[in-house]
C-alpha cells in the first residue's frame, strides 16, 4: 500500500479516542469481526493503532475506505468544525424534479473532476435524506491534500447545505457550483449563519426549534406556577415588585418560548452608522463618514444566556429585537446601516 495512504490511515485512527474506537470501527464496517477479535483493545494507544493499521494493510484499504473513516470520525465529532449554511434556489417557474441520489452523486463528482483533475470525493448517506460529502482538494498537478478536507452535509429534500470551514478558500466557488448544478438548482447563497453546533443550525434553518408538545403540564397558567414557588420561600421575605417580575417572565416566555433554545456561540453586529449624540458640538457626531464598529456577543450558549438576561435583572424586558430575531431570521451576522 502507498506510504502516504498508510500514514493517513494511521493519523486518522490516532485521532479517535479509545472510548469511541469500537463504535467507530463498527460503523466503518471495513475490518471484519474476526480481525477485530484478534486485536487487544486494552494495550497502549500507539500499539493498538499499529495493530489496526496492519489489519487495514492486510485488507488492502483504499483511499476511499480511509476517507469514509474520516467522515465517520467527523460525524462523531461534528462540534470540532465550524459550519456555514448555504441556501440554494431554483428559477421561478422551474419544474420540481424528482431527486435522484445516485445521479446527484455522479454529477457532483464529474463537475469537480472536470475542473480539478485531482480531487477525492466520498459520500456517506445519513438519516433524513441527508448525505455527508467529503472533498479533499488537489490541483491539476498535485495529489489531493487529505489533511485539509471540506465536509458538506446536504439535505436532499431541502435547498440547504451545511459546509465545514474550508482552509483552502479558493475552492469554495467551485464547490458551490458543483452543489447547485448537481442538485438541479439555479443559484446558491451563503447565509449569515455560522456555528459549531450542526444540529442547532439544522433546527434554526428547518424551523424545528419551536415545537412545544401539548401536555397536561403546559396548560397550567402562569399565575398558578408562581404561587408554587412562593410556598417554598420564607414568609419573612417580601417581593415588592412581584407584578413587574411576572411581567418580565411573561415577556421572556413570549419572546423565547418554553422550549430549549438552539445552540449558538456568538452573534456579531457590524455597525456602519453615524454617531448620534445628545451633546452639541460633539466631535464624533460631526463626522460625515459613518463610524465603523464591530460588536460581538460570545457565550457557550448564546440564546439561553439572552433568555436569562431579563429575569436575572441584567437587562430590561423586552430585549432589543436585534438580539431576539436571531433564530427567526436565521442569522447571527448582522450589518447595520443608517436607513
Amino acid at each position: 500500500m502507498d506510504e502516504t495512504l498508510v500514514e493517513f490511515i494511521k493519523r486518522t485512527i490516532m485521532k479517535i479516542p479509545i472510548t469511541e474506537m469500537m463504535p467507530i470501527l463498527k460503523a466503518w464496517d471495513f475490518l471484519s469481526e474476526k480481525q477485530l477479535q484478534t486485536v487487544n483493545f486494552r494495550q497502549r494507544k500507539e500499539s493498538l493503532v499499529q495493530d489496526l493499521v496492519l489489519l487495514c494493510e492486510e485488507r488492502r484499504a483504499s483511499i476511499h475506505d480511509a476517507a469514509l473513516l474520516d467522515i465517520i470520525y467527523t460525524q462523531f465529532h461534528r462540534h470540532q468544525k465550524v459550519w456555514d449554511v448555504f441556501q440554494m434556489s431554483k428559477e421561478p417557474g422551474e419544474d420540481i424534479d424528482l431527486f435522484d441520489m445516485e445521479q446527484f452523486k455522479s454529477s457532483f463528482v464529474k463537475i469537480l473532476q472536470r475542473a480539478l483533475k485531482n480531487v477525492t470525493v466520498s459520500f456517506r448517506d445519513a438519516e433524513e435524506n441527508a448525505v455527508w460529502i467529503r472533498i479533499a482538494w488537489g490541483t491539476q498537478y498535485r495529489k489531493p491534500n487529505q489533511y485539509k478536507p471540506v465536509y458538506v452535509v446536504y439535505y436532499s429534500q431541502t435547498p440547504y447545505a451545511f459546509t465545514s470551514f474550508c482552509p483552502l478558500k479558493s475552492n469554495m466557488p467551485l464547490l458551490g457550483q458543483a452543489l447547485t448544478v448537481a442538485s438541479n438548482h439555479h443559484k446558491i447563497v451563503k447565509m449569515d449563519l455560522r456555528s459549531r453546533y450542526l444540529d442547532s443550525l439544522k433546527a434554526i434553518v428547518f424551523k424545528q426549534y419551536n415545537r412545544t408538545f401539548e401536555t397536561h403540564n403546559s396548560t397550567v397558567p402562569l399565575q398558578d406556577r408562581t404561587l408554587e414557588l412562593d410556598i417554598h420561600m420564607d414568609s419573612r421575605i417580601i417581593h415588592e415588585n412581584r407584578i413587574e417580575k411576572e411581567r418580565v417572565q411573561r415577556v421572556t416566555q413570549e419572546t423565547f418560548g418554553d422550549y430549549p433554545q438552539p445552540r449558538l456561540e456568538f452573534a456579531q453586529y457590524k455597525l456602519e452608522t453615524k454617531f448620534k449624540s445628545e451633546l452639541n458640538g460633539d466631535i464624533l457626531a460631526e463626522r460625515k463618514e459613518p463610524l465603523r464598529c464591530l460588536i460581538k456577543f460570545s457565550s457557550p450558549h448564546l440564546l439561553e444566556a439572552l433568555k436569562a438576561l431579563a429575569p436575572a435583572g441584567i437587562a430590561d424586558a423586552p430585549l432589543s429585537p436585534l438580539l431576539t430575531c436571531i433564530p427567526n431570521k436565521g442569522m447571527n451576522y448582522f450589518k447595520i446601516r443608517d436607513k
Partner: protein, 180 residues
Amino acid sequence: MSVLRPLDKQPGLNTATILLVGTEDALLQQLADSMLKEDCASELKVHLARSLPLPSNMNRPRIDLIMFVVNLHSKYSLRNVEESLRHVDATFFLGKVGFLATGAGRESHCSVHRSTVVRLARTYRSPLLFCDPEVDGFRVPVAQRLVRMLQICAGHVPGVSALNLLSLLRSSENPTLEDL
C-alpha cells in the same frame, strides 16, 4: 406615596424591616436568606425591590433601613440605584440608608469603578459595604453586620440610635477635604 419617609408609620412590636433595592433578584435573595439565618431577638422582615418608587397598592410595615445594592459588574445596576435614590426622603439619610457593592473581587469583570460607589456613598453621607455574596465567607459576616445595623436603626438596641451609628462609622474613615 412616591417618596419613602422614615417615620410616617407606627413601628411594629419588636419588628425590624429592611428594604433591599437592587436589579439582580438572585443576589438580593441570597442576602435575605443569609440575614434570616442569623439569630436575632427582633423579628426580621426583608423586603426586596427592584427599584423605587415602590408600588403604592401594598400594605407594608415601617421601613427601618434601606440598603441599595450595586453590582460593580453592571452599569445598569448603578443607574438603577441612582434613579431610585431620588424617591427617598432626605431624612432617611440620617443613618437609615446604606450602600452595598458586590463583585469587587473580580476586578476584570468590573465596569463600574470602585471610586464611583465610594463617591456615591460619600455624597449621600451613608456607609458603604463591600460584599461578594457567592463566597460564603464574605456573605455571612456582611449579613451579620446588616442585621446589627437593622436592629440599631429600628431602635432595638438601647442607647444607640441610627444617627449615633452613622457618626461612629464616619469618624473611623479618613477625613476628606470636604469634611475639614
